[in-house]
């Protein structure tokens, strides 16, 4: 963590910490069709935030725009009060597992070490320090035994944990994670949640694209409901109302009847079935 900027409160320094992520008027379009429309966000530091919305709602696009991987039509992004270029080293990224070719000729350890390349000098090669950081990250994800394995010989959940370990070695203060829970088994999901909570308890901020409304309350502190436009952003218990879910997912009747009741339950924590309020 030695690479944190000298003043974590950001410029201004008026006592109040700058938001971990601030997005203003963000509009992104593919071929004239808007994917994100005039989105404003302000995410305080230290929250574990779920990004929730239907397919095509712009969740991945939001993450990619924040990272500068695509060019928005309009909008401004500030990270800890600074521009992306200034704050780049404080941002970590976990892309969707399906975005790479897992038959690539490399090992688990090499893949995780790639997370250190952002700080590698131009003529330097990854060495012992990088290797040790990668091994430590792998053991935090219960993947140390797989360090020497070719990445194509991993299960989906193991691949997901390799990506998580690669994000960990980035030692970032703001993490953007695109569906880390996609198609993983219960054990892996548990392991990932533990790591996310540990990161949050260290004061890091996490934006996590998530699909399972049932575990929202249990896993996350905050939620961003999004469908092209920002629907709602705030603590899960305040934001997860049936009205907001209807606005997010539209009028799909079967879905609504289930989620509506769950949303209502979330309004009223003591009545929540299964009581997932341990966070």
């Amino acid at each position: 963590m030695g690479k944190r900027l000298a003043d974590p409160a950001g410029p201004g320094g008026g006592g109040k910490a700058a938001p971990a992520l601030e997005v203003e008027d963000l509009t992104v379009a593919y071929n004239e069709k808007p994917v994100l429309w005039d989105v404003d966000l302000s995410v305080p530091p230290g929250v574990l935030l779920a990004v929730v919305g239907p397919n095509g709602a712009g969740k991945t696009t939001l993450i990619r725009s924040v990272l500068g991987l695509l060019q928005p039509v309009a909008g401004k992004v500030r990270i800890f009060g600074r521009s992306l270029a200034e704050a780049r080293q404080r941002v970590g990224y976990l892309p969707q597992r399906g975005s790479v070719d897992w038959d690539f000729p490399t090992t688990v350890l090499d893949t995780v070490m790639m997370g250190t390349y952002g700080q590698l000098g131009w003529l330097r090669r990854p060495g012992r320090r990088e290797r040790e950081a990668a091994m430590e990250a792998l053991s935090r994800c219960n993947m140390a035994d797989f360090a020497g394995r070719q990445i194509s010989r991993l299960s989906g959940g193991q691949q997901q944990r390799v990506f998580l370990a690669r994000a960990l070695v980035q030692q970032a203060d703001l993490y953007l994670m695109d569906e880390p829970f996609a198609a993983v088994d219960a054990t892996t999901e548990r392991a990932i949640v533990d790591v996310l909570r540990e990161l949050r308890s260290q004061g890091r901020t996490l934006l996590v694209v998530h699909h399972d409304l049932e575990t929202l309350n249990e896993y996350f502190d905050w939620v961003l409901l999004i469908n092209v436009r920002r629907i709602a952003l705030g603590p899960v218990s305040e934001v997860l109302t049936s009205e907001n879910l209807r606005l997010t997912y539209g009028g799909r009747a079967a879905f609504l009847s289930v989620e509506g009741s769950r949303g209502a339950a979330a309004d009223d924590p003591p009545a929540a079935p299964g009581g997932g309020i341990e966070a």
Binding site: L67, R88, P95
Partner: protein
């Protein structure tokens, strides 16, 4: 073999041709790995075809047949073709494959037209430009070899210097960009290196077959290893091997041109690798799946007998072989193998019973393959 070596060392022309082909094979093999892993193998084909009009134009403008001049023209127009492909993909809805096809055929067509125009000129100096179509290694001079060696050295040095970044760029370009690596610049660097490798091969192999020198060694090397570093080394070695043996072959066989000889040999290497490489090879995969089928069949026989025996108080009670047919197509043959392994005992009248070790093996398999089943 010894006489071949003596021939190689003794004959100046052959030595020149062989070292040219080896240099070409090393660099196109090594760089082709990155083209392949980035799913840009066909880019090499487009670049090499796009180089042809550059050769023709360079001659028309300068009137010189100096290889350096012509290859500079080739490099420029090949590079232009690459940029055009990138622009078309980024700036329109045309997909990569269509853009590659478009650039390849338009540039190549233009090159052929220019060659025809050149050849219809009454000037005698024009002869021989068409060697760039299929290559003609026998025209290589020592000075060409020195230039090729320099280019190969520079390209491999650049590869070594950029290694970790190029590896990351090839595996996960988005993540590379998120780290702040200059991906556009790296992209351009690797494309330029590929252009260099292609231009090196134009005299020897020609524009039509050059892409094989990028794709084939890489594809063959991938079969044998799961590490990028060894894949790149191996691809370079395969390229060099094909280059040298192609040169020797065409020296031995009357009127066999070097370029096609090299490409045929590199194709044989690919063919062999696809079939016989351990793990990824087709023969290996076939043997493995056959072995797995056989194991599953034997397990089915054992478990079936265990389940039958469980209907009696005596687990060693003999039984007829009744096995779900779809699971084991040849229960008798598998039973015979199990008898040889000492797991089953064959009794008269087609009856079988488990031996003691057969029983424990059957229980183990049942626990392993049928979780939830009571052993």
């Amino acid at each position: 073999m010894n006489s071949l070596l003596a021939e190689l060392l003794g004959d100046h022309t052959l030595r020149t041709v062989a070292s040219g082909a080896a240099l070409l094979g090393i660099s196109s093999g090594a760089l082709g790995c990155f083209a392949m892993l980035r799913r840009q193998s066909l880019l090499g084909d487009a670049i090499s075809h796009a180089a042809l009009p550059g050769v023709a134009l360079a001659f028309m403008l300068t009137g010189s047949k100096e290889p350096l001049t012509l290859l500079l023209g080739a490099a420029l127009s090949g590079w232009l073709g690459t940029l055009l492909v990138t622009r078309i993909v980024r700036g329109s809805r045309v997909k990569l494959d269509a853009a590659l096809g478009l650039v390849l055929s338009v540039f190549f067509g233009a090159g052929l037209v220019l060659l025809t125009i050149i050849q219809s000129r009454p000037d005698a100096r024009q002869a021989g430009l068409d060697k760039f179509l299929f290559g003609n290694a026998s025209t290589l001079l020592s000075s060409d070899i020195r230039a090729m060696a320099l280019l190969a050295l520079l390209a491999l040095l650049a590869l070594l210097l950029l290694w970790p970044r190029l590896k990351l760029l090839s595996f996960d370009p988005d993540f590379a960009a998120s780290l702040g690596l200059p991906v556009r610049w790296l992209d351009l660097a690797i494309s330029t290196l590929i252009v260099i490798a292609i231009v090196m091969g134009l005299q020897t192999v020609g524009v039509v077959l050059m892409s094989a020198m990028l794709v084939a060694p890489a594809a063959a090397a991938r079969q044998w290893t799961d590490r990028l570093a060894s894949m790149v080394l191996l691809a370079g070695a395969f390229g060099a091997l094909a280059g040298i043996s192609g040169a020797l072959l065409s020296a031995r066989i009357e009127r066999l041109p070097t370029g096609p000889a090299i490409v045929v040999i590199v194709s044989l290497i690919v063919f062999f690798s696809l079939l016989f490489a351990p793990n990824r090879g087709m023969v290996f995969a076939w043997l493995r799946s056959r072995g797995q089928r056989r194991q599953l069949g034997q397990a089915t026989v054992l478990i079936s007998l265990l389940q039958l025996a469980q209907q009696h108080s005596d687990p060693f009670h003999p039984h007829q072989l009744i096995v779900p047919g779809s699971l084991s197509r040849q229960p008798r043959r598998q039973a015979a193998q199990l008898v040889r392994d000492g797991l089953l005992e064959a009794l008269p009248d087609g009856l079988y019973r488990l031996t003691a070790s057969g029983l424990s093996e059957a229980r183990r398999l049942s626990r392993e393959l049928l979780p939830g089943e009571q052993p």
